[in-house]
């Protein structure tokens, strides 16, 4: 199958304008004749649902939370990038575009990234108009800070709660439309499957998590904004409920999954403390503006940090990457931390940690300034670890955080299944093999506020939508399949809980397909995952019934999908014989341990087609063309 990305012709800075001019329009009176399903109410989903309703479309929004305000976008702490150049420090749309392409290790689509940089400025304006309380200077103007992978200050923030405030802005816009009757919101509904009729996405099957009822919902287009799949590793910074089910079920219905091996390991998380641990907590990258990262120079140095003199400390990021220092991009900072710990110089229990030290910044600026900038993060750290970071350096270690891979989409954010659109972290399109800090919020809102409202009109204007009844055989068959899957899971009545399988899968993935991968490990994982999946379907136990609130069942269904999806990830990681961004294959590195890309053979998007459970998926390639940015070895030295 030929993957058509539908990137418009012309110079890169005119493509989006041209495309918007070329897209067909749906006139205001006709918009209400079209219906859209939006799954997920994070930044991308809420902003899309609200904006499409403002335009006049009939929108149904779905979330598995009890309220649309709870999606994990809310946890983003540090900020959102925009090429406003308010700081007069040399920023521009071009520079944000360039930084993002380079930060993604030249594995992102140029045209998508340029559009993202263009609309970034509109996002800030829109959010300000909604009343989002961004940080301001005393003159009343918007404040900025720096983030990894950039040499300008372009990150806007609202204390350490930027994601929360942006999500509340989008949630409030959505609530306004719900109150006006323009959006029908379905809380506590989990998507079980995608309904495809005559080759087009025409609806979804959901399970009501309170009553257990499985039902179908029909529409003219389906938008998935269901986030990433980081929880395949069990331990990650994702929320407990984050899962791959919606995108994976769409994949099983024909949508290609692109670059699943691109996972981001965030360098600054609180280290794991025990086996009972249920999740890992991120400490915002913004801390690296003022915190200095170091480990002892000598292996096995057990002295307390304040007993180690300056001359026996290794500020390894400042040493290795002098021009970016502590603000090196995430993949590079994570690998450097792993390298220091593998070398026996890690600190804390098990030697799995490095120091993030604020003593210089406190000396320079005073405790009050630091508290003003990072107070809530310091409190959070102390609550979790029992240590006060104003006095003792934080201990941090890398953890799974974000997934750059996702369902394949074209320039219109439509998957290869017509009528199925994918937004935000759920798609693959903008971050290449590594996402820069403060760019996830930007992409989620760009897709929802400023891209999909245009491109979905182009799809509807093509016409040819005949009504599909909920009673039609294909719809009923999809509902029945979901019901049967639930019944099957409930009837196994084995001995092991879904959590125990999830934890075991996570360990396999972290060991074999985590921060560093190699052919041997991936091959072992591909052998082990099907065995574990087999065991799951023989021995899992789900107490209770399907006709009530049953959290074990919810988890069981999600873990079942992770157990299939994990294999896909390993296939992708195994086939990509190069290192790039978040995908580090040990066989492919330079002499000083940096990622070694292979542009000759791998400058493409790997989009996988489902061929059956346990059967090797089929690879389709979309060649990446770099017409504006010169492919270069990524250097932050």
């Amino acid at each position: 199958m030929d993957l058509k990305n539908h990137i418009p012709s012309g110079p890169i800075d005119q493509k989006w304008d041209k495309h918007r001019a070329d897209l067909k329009l749906v006139n205001p009176a006709n918009k209400r004749k079209f219906s859209v399903i939006v799954v997920g109410t994070g930044l991308a989903g809420s902003s899309a649902a609200a904006t499409l309703a403002e335009l006049g479309y009939n929108v149904q929004a779905f979330t598995y939370h009890d309220s649309a305000r709870r999606a994990h976008s809310i946890a983003a702490q540090g900020g959102i990038n925009a090429a406003k150049n308010y700081q007069n420090d040399g920023d521009s749309v071009w520079r944000l575009f360039y930084d993002t392409v380079k930060g993604g290790d030249f594995r992102a689509r140029e045209a998508n990234v340029h559009r993202l940089a263009e609309v970034s400025v509109n996002i800030i304006d829109q959010c300000v108009a909604q009343g989002v309380p961004f940080a301001r200077e005393y003159g009343g103007y918007l404040s900025n800070r720096s983030f990894g992978g950039a040499q300008v200050s372009r990150t806007f923030y609202a204390r350490g709660q930027t994601g929360q405030q942006l999500l509340l802005g989008a949630y409030q816009a959505l609530m306004r439309q719900v109150g006006l009757g323009k959006v029908k919101l379905h809380n506590k509904q989990e998507m079980m499957d995608l309904i495809v009729v005559d080759g087009r996405a025409r609806g979804i099957v959901t399970r009501n998590m309170v009553t257990g009822k499985v039902e179908s919902h029909m529409a003219d287009a389906v938008i998935l904004a269901t986030g990433g799949y980081g929880n395949v590793f069990y331990l990650s910074t994702n929320a407990m409920a984050c899962n791959v089910t919606a995108t994976y079920r769409a994949h099983k219905r024909g949508a290609f999954f692109a670059n699943p091996c691109y996972t981001q390991i965030h360098p600054t998380c609180i280290p794991q403390s025990g086996d009972y641990q249920s999740k890992l907590t991120l400490m915002s990258e913004s801390l690296r503006n003022d915190g200095r990262i170091w480990v002892p120079k000598n292996k096995g140095d057990k002295r307390a940090p304040d007993q180690i003199p300056e001359s026996e400390r290794d500020y390894y990021l400042e040493r290795k990457y002098p021009s970016f220092g502590n603000l090196s991009p995430r993949d590079i900072a994570s690998r450097a931390a792993k390298e220091a710990c593998d070398d026996g110089r890690g600190v804390g229990p098990g030697g799995l940690g490095v120091y993030l030290d604020f003593s210089d910044a406190i000396k320079r600026l005073g405790e009050k300034v630091i508290a003003d900038r990072y107070g809530n993060l310091f409190e959070m750290y102390e609550r979790i670890t029992g240590e006060n970071p104003y006095h003792v350096p934080m201990r941090i270690y890398p953890a799974v955080h974000y997934t750059m891979g996702g369902l394949w989409v074209d320039y219109n954010l439509m998957s290869n299944v017509p009528g199925l659109f994918v937004l935000g972290e759920a798609n693959f399109s903008d971050h290449g093999a590594n996402r820069l800090g403060a760019s996830a919020l930007m992409q989620g809102l760009a897709d929802g506020y400023f891209v999909i409202p245009y491109t979905i009109g182009g799809y509807f204007a093509q016409g040819g939508f005949s009504p599909v009844s909920q009673d039609s055989p294909v719809v009923q068959a999809t509902v029945r399949e979901a019901e049967e899957k639930i019944q099957k899971l409930l009837s196994i009545n084995g001995k092991r809980s879904p959590t125990s399988f999830h934890r075991e899968l996570g360990k396999i993935m972290w060991d074999k397909c985590g921060m560093a991968r190699n052919e041997k490990g991936l091959t072992e994982a591909l052998k082990r995952i099907p065995e574990l999946r087999e065991e799951f379907w023989q021995d899992v136990v789900i107490p209770g019934s399907g006709a009530e609130l049953n959290q074990s069942l919810e988890l069981g269904l999600r873990v079942a999908d992770f157990l299939e999806f994990a294999e896909l990830m390993c296939y992708d990681a195994l086939h990509r014989n190069e290192s790039c961004g978040g995908h580090f294959r040990e066989e492919y590195q330079t002499e000083d341990g940096e990622a070694k890309r292979n542009d000759e053979e791998f400058a493409y998007v790997g989009a996988w087609e489902y061929t059956g459970v346990g059967s090797k998926p089929t690879l389709h390639k979309e060649q990446l063309e770099f017409e504006n940015v010169q492919l270069a070895t990524r250097s932050y030295k």
């Binding site: 829109q126 709660q161 949630y171 609530m175 609130l549």
Partner: protein
């Protein structure tokens, strides 16, 4: 450490519910409160019993999903801390802990410790927003906002919608929640155009949902994991009264 838990079990909205006692052994002080409940639930599943249903998601204290009354206090004994951020080092070996759901008419119990907080969403739907469509906005810096106003807006906007304020209030009032949104939008220029109607409509919806009135106990402020000040209630009352008299503040 070893603990004895008394947990509210209720199979559904129609069930009367009761406290049941469970012993949990070998609890580490580094566990979060919810991880301690995870351990209990894994035990229950192994024994063939139904695990305790409780709401939770981010486990970072920001999503507002988790919420339970721990020894009579919403989110437990620590100030400005959600249940997920409460760690077991706060407790000691041999402690007995009572765990109950939020109790309020407007938050019906769904199961065990899970309650339905849809009433909060319906309050927001009545005016907790600025009516600005996507695309309407002017440049973000055309409207300078004094830092103190922006900070005050942020103080109120930090509300995570968990419902602890309602659970703590002897009248099950949602005044702090409602006032936080009115206070956030009322502190910035963007919120002024609808300030009067916002206060009126949100307060009326709050009453319609069955939340009680405020009698100045300030339990809400003490229980709020984000430390939102009850001063915002005063601002809400001012906006409401001025709206009732047809004023525009």
């Amino acid at each position: 450490m070893n603990l004895r838990l008394h947990i509210w079990r209720q199979s559904g909205p129609q069930d009367t519910g009761m406290l049941k006692t469970y012993d949990v052994a070998n609890v580490s002080e580094h566990m979060s409160f919810l991880e301690m409940l995870d351990v209990l639930n894994e035990d229950l599943i192994a024994k063939g019993e139904l695990p305790v249903a409780f709401d939770h998601d981010c486990r970072e204290g920001i999503c507002g999903t988790c919420g339970m009354v721990i020894n009579g206090r919403p989110h437990g004994p620590l100030a400005r801390t959600t249940a997920c951020q409460l760690h077991m080092r706060t407790f000691k070996d041999g402690d007995e802990i009572y765990i109950e759901p939020w109790r309020a008419r407007a938050f019906p119990v769904v199961r065990d410790l899970v309650v339905d907080r849809g009433s909060f969403d319906r309050i927001i739907q009545k005016g907790g927003f600025v009516s600005v469509n996507t695309g309407n906005a002017q440049d973000g810096n055309t409207l300078p906002i004094p830092k103190l106003d922006a900070d005050r807006a942020m103080d109120a906007a930090a509300c995570i919608g968990c419902g602890a304020c309602v659970a703590a209030c002897p009248n099950a009032s949602a005044m702090l929640f409602t006032a936080a949104k009115i206070g956030h939008l009322g502190s910035v220029p963007q919120g002024q155009a609808e300030r009067s109607t916002r206060a009126m409509n949100m307060v009326l919806q709050m009453d319609a949902e069955g939340f009680g009135a405020c009698t100045n106990h300030y339990e809400c402020e003490a229980a709020c994991p984000k430390g939102i000040s009850a001063d915002f209630i005063a601002q809400m009352n001012k906006d409401f009264v001025s709206s009732a008299f047809g004023g525009r503040d």
